[in-house]
């Protein structure tokens, strides 16, 4: 690798080349602040606009689904506009976590796995539900069975992208536990294991259309969302800490 000749393996030795301007961490800070900004927009899009959180009921007939879209079609379409503009923020957040993971001593493998899992998960886990809801909202006169199909496809896709995220979580947890650079604290790895357990429980959303294990259930949705919120806040705070602790002018080893 010719690139590695320009950038020595050891992070400490990777101080910026002599031709460089004084080392600054502005690039890291720009990218970091996209993380909270994106999840703020994410909240606005998914809660009041798309109405995916809290989820519409799975146990309503076609009439209920149609009245859902009749009530919310305007905000759903605005929500997808915002999402289409902003969902790249997910790539920034995930890419930046992978970047910090690449600074660990546990090697690049899990950083790449995290990035891959999360990047693929964006489509089924975030975009598709909004597209399906928009497709139902743009033509309210669709046949009821088609509306029902879009409703289910959107929600099951949103809830069912478990594999992408579980893989990323597993990579994140193992990488932290093996890391000796202490980029992230060990307890964050344990919190991430809760996330995997949550995803295990969430499998029931594809099986049961009503009750505590449905996609709006107390066990699968509400508890899972509470754990996700705690986890996401911790990850964000620890990402800030990792950003602050990274010495200016350094980069991950090749």
């Amino acid at each position: 690798m010719s690139v590695s000749e320009l950038t020595p393996d050891d992070e400490k030795a990777t101080a910026v080349a002599d031709s460089a301007a004084p080392a600054s961490k502005r690039d890291l800070n720009i990218v970091f602040w996209i993380f909270p900004a994106f999840f703020g927009v994410f909240g606005i899009v998914f809660v009041p606009l798309l109405r995916v959180i809290p989820p519409p009921r799975p146990d309503v007939g076609y009439a209920g689904m149609i009245s859902f879209f009749e009530a919310h079609h305007t905000t759903i379409r605005i929500g997808l506009v915002l999402l289409c503009l902003a969902f790249g923020g997910a790539a920034v957040a995930n890419g930046y976590v992978a970047y910090q993971m690449k600074r660990m001593t546990s090697g690049p493998v899990f950083a790449y796995v995290y990035m891959g899992g999360m990047a693929v998960g964006v489509l089924p886990g975030m975009l598709l539900v909004a597209v399906c809801f928009d497709a139902a909202s743009m033509r309210l006169d669709r046949a009821p069975r088609v509306v029902g199909f879009l409703y289910d496809l959107g929600m099951l896709s949103f809830n069912g992208s478990l594999g992408c995220f579980s893989t990323a979580y597993l990579a994140f947890a193992i990488a932290i536990l093996l890391d000796r650079n202490k980029i992230f604290p060990k307890w964050l790895a344990y919190l991430t294991i809760w996330q995997i357990v949550t995803e295990l429980l969430a499998t029931m959303m594809w099986v049961l259309p009503a009750g505590p294990f449905a996609w709006n259930g107390s066990m699968t949705f509400w508890l899972g969302t509470a754990i996700f919120a705690i986890w996401l806040n911790c990850q964000g705070l620890m990402l800030k800490k990792a950003t602050d602790q990274q010495p200016a002018g350094t980069r991950p080893p090749e």
Binding site: S2, A21, M138, G249
Partner: protein, 245 residues
């Protein structure tokens, strides 16, 4: 090709990048042909067509739609090698932490998965054109929504490239500075097509001048310009690393 350096291991990095650029160039030409062959783009299908009109359209043009979708399917993601070269070149920038390169890569993976989805919807609609028109209509809608509107990943790619070039202000800058502004301009040109999910007619609808033509021409121009720029950049890398080391 590689500035007089033959088969040294380190030149293989430059060679693969050159091959990646050629792959994308060839794929782009094929994609333009497929694009020209897709009857739904001449003119772009209106969101106001009825279910029967859409179903009739698919029945009338089944063969051409299938041809163009098969070609999109095969060659759409072959644009990816050029984006891989951009990541490699961004990682060569010495004055920064490489964080923009990682974010660019992450956005590239996501945008590819989405790009791959749109033609699945079009192709499914064309697979059995005698389906219930309501089903053909919804597949067509989903295809158009996914094809035109989700520009967020492309925005992040272009903005991150622009930021990286802006911060790459040392003596050995990888890209000329205008490339950063150009990248930003492409992002601005593509952004309004996100509005296509909320408009059923006019320039912002998915068949509109802004959402369809401006967006697609901007993206095509970006690929062509970056191919030319990257060709020079990779050549410069081979000059920098080849004979002098």
């Amino acid at each position: 090709m590689t500035a007089g350096v033959d088969d040294l291991p380190r030149t293989s990095n430059v060679r693969t990048q050159q091959m990646a650029l050629w792959t994308t160039a060839v794929a782009l030409v094929i994609l333009l042909i497929a694009y020209a062959a897709f009857p739904g783009f001449w003119p772009p299908m209106s969101p106001q067509l009825s279910a029967d009109q859409v179903a009739t359209f698919y029945r009338a043009h089944t063969a051409w739609i299938r041809f163009s979708m098969v070609t999109f399917n095969l060659c759409g993601i072959m644009l990816l090698p050029m984006f891989g070269v951009i990541v490699v070149q961004m990682k060569r920038m010495t004055t920064q932490s490489q964080v923009f390169a990682y974010v660019f890569l992450s956005a590239t993976v996501s945008s590819s998965t989405i790009f791959a989805l749109a033609d699945i919807f079009f192709a499914t609609a064309a697979f059995r054109p005698n389906r219930d028109p309501e089903i053909v209509l919804v597949l067509n809608d989903l295809g158009w929504l996914v094809f035109v509107a989700p520009v967020g990943m492309a925005l992040v790619q272009n903005i991150m490239l622009a930021l990286a070039i802006y911060h790459d202000n040392g003596a050995g800058a990888i890209f000329p500075r205008w490339v950063g502004y150009f990248s930003l301009a492409v992002a601005i040109a593509m952004a309004p097509s996100a509005l296509s999910v909320a408009f059923d007619s006019g320039p912002f609808a998915w068949n509109g001048v802004i959402s369809f033509w401006l967006r697609n021409i901007a993206f095509g121009t970006f690929v062509v310009v970056m191919l030319v720029v990257l060709r020079k950049t990779v050549h410069q890398q081979s000059v920098d690393e080849g004979p002098f080391q």
